[in-house]
Point group: C2
Chain length 553, copies 2
């Protein structure tokens, strides 16, 4: 039993990145998974739709996996749950709204035999040899939880994504007392959200956005179009409250916004007075200054509502001078250009655009340094693993922990796949498991890997030049071809000379092969490729992918 007395914490996603959060807590034969998130592809992951964690450790140990516990309903925490349950169908525990959002996701993925258990904040559930508790926190989506695990070696606290909002929109502030209580009884390990670890001070309360909304609504003389994250139910509640105050009807556009609003209303997380919501086709019945349009696209996503409006390409809304567009979000890193382009296009169409943190039209959902320090002080953990952040954020959060009295050698910074091992008196890094990115492209999960991506990158840069030749069986005598076909390389119409000379060079290679009695396809192909590659580079300074294809008759 010596080995089994150690508790293992293994992040499979979420360290060194913001996204695809997934963490394994394992004691002996009991594995509990915290969250099952996805991330969106980087710009150089051509054609990839989603990225999910490598779950092979869980698949190999599927008989040990007891449950998945979910902290909140954001994509980077629930977006790979369908893929996980497909492989390892275990019970899932989450709060009410999170369950609602998960059910939608699982249905979309045609998963039906799931075991979804609704819990409430304050609940403590026995899973295998551990007790798991759910603590109310605040975040940019309601019903978020921190988790604690009472394990045989001590208590672990995982904050989930959080901020400390003392005046949240739903009137339900974080359960600070529970954290204090856990801290007083002694916590072995704290894992805490590092997203804003570089940001000094406190994150503003969500209600401050309400003030900004009222200011913007007061100034607006025409229609108001408000874009925000579809999952930010509190933000949407504030938009609706402000609309009610200014006697505007509200219509909701964009699939995810419509879905989330519907789920939130059904489950009681969004209160909309009767008669406020109208259908998009009813818009025409109301004067411009009595209308609020809620929509998606606050990140400049090309297919989302606001982006379509900005490019004058939306089914039911055309932007006109006099419209006020409120973008209640800041660009997620990587989306800056898309958002700028959207704003520019909206302004060109005559809209007045209100956006950006300066105007207090958005606040973060993640704790800043003072809140992180407060959490560290409440919990006073023996060991600390900063999670949910890029390396520099984890590092900075680690420094904060040391400031708050955690022993420097007890701050454990790692990356995905790292095994952290704990007894009731020790904690350290100990080996690794497989971890990494699995690409989802269309229906394929993992069938596009680095080689395919590298091919796509080369194709993207300089296109492809295909050389086809039909050879007489067993010879290098060309019966037809060489024919040269290119895509993404040059305008063929303007490059006839280049292509014709390329053709002659390949023909000469074939003649030399025939004369030299060279018949191995691999040799012929490689000579064709080398000759053509050299010639094209010399003439164009480009290196397209060159694909010689031989047929034989």
């Amino acid at each position: 039993m010596a080995k089994k007395e150690k508790l293992m914490v293994i992040p499979l996603g979420g360290l060194g990145e913001i996204g695809k959060n997934m963490t394994v807590i394992q004691y002996g034969n009991d594995i509990i998974v915290i969250d099952a998130g996805l991330s969106f592809p980087d710009d150089d992951m051509f054609g990839i739709d989603l990225v999910i964690p490598d779950m092979s450790y869980l698949i190999e140990n599927r008989d040990k996996v007891r449950a998945v516990v979910i902290t909140h309903g954001h994509e980077d925490h629930i977006g790979s749950l369908a893929y996980l349950l497909n492989e390892v169908n275990v019970p899932v525990y989450a709060t009410k709204l999170v369950c609602g959002l998960i059910e939608g996701k699982l249905k979309e993925n045609h998963i039906t035999n799931y075991k979804l258990n609704e819990v409430q904040h304050g609940d403590e559930v026995q899973i295998g040899c551990m007790k798991v508790g759910f603590i109310r926190t605040n975040h940019s989506i309601p019903d978020a939880s921190a988790l604690y695990f009472k394990t045989p070696v001590g208590t672990i606290v995982h904050t989930g994504d959080f901020k400390i909002d003392l005046t949240p929109v739903d009137g339900q502030p974080m359960d600070i007392h529970k954290f204090a209580d856990l801290g007083r009884r002694g916590v072995l390990l704290l894992m805490s959200d590092s997203t804003n670890a570089e940001r000094p001070g406190y994150t503003e309360s969500e209600t401050t956005v309400g003030h900004a909304f009222r200011k913007a609504f007061r100034a607006a003389t025409g229609r108001i179009i408000l874009a925000t994250f579809a999952s930010n139910i509190s933000r949407i509640q504030q938009a609706i409250n402000t609309a009610v105050q200014f006697k505007r009807k509200v219509t909701v556009l964009g699939r995810s916004m419509v879905n989330n609003v519907q789920i939130a209303i059904e489950l009681g997380y969004l209160n909309v007075p009767d008669g406020v919501l109208i259908e998009p086709d009813e818009l025409g019945r109301y004067p411009d200054d009595q209308v609020l349009i809620l929509t998606t696209g606050s990140q400049g996503e090309p297919m989302a509502g606001l982006s379509r409006m900005a490019s004058n390409n939306h089914r039911s809304v055309s932007i006109m001078p006099g419209d006020t567009v409120i973008i209640s979000a800041t660009p997620i890193p990587g989306n800056e250009m898309g958002v700028s382009r959207t704003i520019d296009n909206l302004m060109k169409l005559g809209a007045n655009v209100v956006a950006g943190r300066d105007k207090k039209i958005h606040v973060s959902g993640h704790a800043s340094q003072e809140e992180l320090k407060l959490m560290l002080d409440l919990i006073r953990p023996k060991y600390f693993i900063p999670v949910h952040g890029e390396y520099r954020m984890l590092k900075q959060h680690g420094d904060l922990a040391v400031q708050m009295g955690v022993e420097k050698s007890h701050v454990l910074i790692g990356d995905n796949g790292q095994i952290f091992e704990f007894s009731n008196r020790s904690g350290n890094k100990a080996g690794r498991v497989n971890a990494g990115r699995v690409f989802v492209d269309g229906l394929g999960v993992g069938d596009v890997g680095n080689i395919v991506i590298r091919d796509r990158q080369q194709l993207a840069m300089e296109g492809v030049v295909i050389v086809v030749m039909t050879l007489a069986k067993g010879t290098s005598h060309a019966l037809a071809g060489p024919d040269i076909v290119s895509r993404g390389f040059v305008y063929v119409r303007d490059s006839e000379e280049l292509i014709s000379e390329a053709h002659d060079r390949v023909a000469a290679v074939l003649e030399r092969c025939e004369a030299g009695n060279i018949r191995e396809w691999a040799v012929i192909k490689s000579q064709v490729r080398d000759t053509l590659s050299r010639y094209l580079y010399e003439k164009t300074k480009r290196r397209p992918m060159i694909l010689p294809i031989i047929m034989e008759v």
Copy 2:
């Protein structure tokens, strides 16, 4: 002569964008071009190296073009000069350092018969029917100029890129008196830099960065690696001054940094005491705390010095714990992710990284709102065209001009290709000329256009599937094939079944064609493409480019 009495101002680049600045000033048969810049490709312009303005208007009117006048030596102002002179070889006027930088560029592009005229601030040159004057300004590169044009209909002032730095590093503040003098005499049109039109207040003096350098140097215990823009000679001067103060030797790495430092020293724009500069291979002779390494890569460019060091891939420098890395720049929009990744990697290697505007380690080279208002007040123009900015910046700058007393209808906001027409008493938009983006890819200028880019985008997203068939002459009877070759689509090894079924479907199409006596290649190809496309989408939800190729024996 009625038509000719109008002065035309035609921006060919730089409106609605930051980049590829180029503006035409035309009166009758006299054309003067302001700047000839380039821009860097957006993420979706696959494989493109550079983007330059569409110069067809100048090429069509080449007999009228009298000169190019250059405001300063940044790429977005001189980077397409070689391409312009290749087509229209006219005299170029610029200040000394700018001439030095241009000569380097032209040599790289094998252009030798250029006519480069060095001017000094305060000079006034007669070009065609206009007098062109050069006024000293401050910017993030020394020797920057604003320009004025005394034309038959009135005076035009173009600020170039500027800030008002009252304590510049080279001790040469902007010639505010000259602007005041021009304003007093009456200015018909002002064109002014809009980059920071959204930023309130004043832009900090370049010398404030010196204080931040001293603070960072004081704290550093090991080597210091400092990355900044290679063209920011004043920044480099301050780094060298600080190194001298802290008794550190300086070595310079990175081609553009080495070139610019050399040119600046030769022309007297950079003062380096004897014995301070050392060669990279001498680094080993000095203790870590006596070394400063100046390098490129402040924008996270993958091939630049700092990025190579961050990915542990630099020829002569390996980052080690104890190194201090100063990134004296903020990410240009679009580069945020690259810079973050670089910082993360440097920190993982143990470096202490000092970066970001918060630490005052970088200041902008462009005027903020109060400076822009001061410029508007100095000049008091009758008409105003905001330039050098995306639409929202131009708009905001226009609003500032109205605040400063320019009549609202005299604020002219346009885009590239817009003709602005002026008499001595009127100014308005009047028609358009061709303007747009010309892509440079390798040696090709303009041979990659939208079709090629669209092909590259499709190739990038889902790869290519090639179907080759050798048919018996005049029939649709397959003598060889169909063979299916794919790249960037799926791992072929894991998808044998998919490819084999695809093969059978294509073979069936060919059999049907043969049975139906269909011999037209276009018909056969389109049936193959449709069948394969449908099958692959159904199985994978992907749409690769499908290329049927027929040969005939």
